[in-house]
Amino acid sequence: DQQVKQNSPSLSVQEGRISILNCDYTNSMFDYFLWYKKYPAEGPTFLISISSIKDKNEDGRFTVFLNKSAKHLSLHIVPSQPGDSAVYFCAASEEYGGSQGNLIFGKGTKLSVKP
């Protein structure tokens, strides 16, 4: 039973256009959401996060939107660049002992940005 789902295994976008990566979750206790980017032969790199008390967080070209009622979040990359080509993982956690608990990951979406 997957608690975090990324239903699109892959996404192809033209350079300069917007990339939208989607993520759905089932556990209403999740209160913190993160996006990681992963290149081959490297560990995941933290990209951006959002707390459940917010509905939007922006960092440069990256914006994460959270819709709690729909249990859905999305990552927008504008404009997309060829260097953004990687696998993107959505992750979620709930509070544990006053801190954030373990991360539950989706299966990832492979983004390809074409020049």
């Binding site: 490297e42 560990g43 933290f46 544990y96 990951f105």
Partner: protein, 114 residues
């Protein structure tokens, strides 16, 4: 500032053997978590160590055990290796007590069981 470092980077073991993987957290971090990433899947949480004790555990058998040392570094031990244990093992470190802690990952150890 060194990030999270893991050793070794690659490892080949035979079924039934035991393996130990090592992780040094990012400087200033006190919490270490271990994840298993099978091919085509997202990382799956194994367990988390804080103050030298296992704080949380995922759905992994007792063959998977760990340890955290006073300098916050950590080891993951897997006994009686199975072919299905072949995966990328990721270590992540964070700082406890933060409102929005980001976990920083190492490059991983690629374990192949033959």
């Amino acid at each position: 500032d060194a990030g999270v470092t893991q050793s070794p980077t690659h490892l080949i073991k035979t079924r039934g053997q035991q393996v130990t993987l090592r992780c040094s957290p990012k400087s200033g971090h006190d919490t270490v978590s271990w994840y298993q990433q099978a091919l085509g899947q997202g990382p799956q949480f194994i367990f988390q160590y804080y103050e030298e004790e296992e704080r949380q555990r995922g759905n992994f058998p007792d063959r998977f055990s760990g340890h955290q040392f006073p300098n916050y570094s950590s080891e993951l031990n897997v006994n009686a290796l199975l072919l299905g244990d072949s995966a990328l093992y990721l270590c992540a470190s964070s700082l406890a007590g933060q409102d929005l802690p980001e976990a920083f990952f190492g490059q991983g150890t690629r374990l192949t069981v033959v």
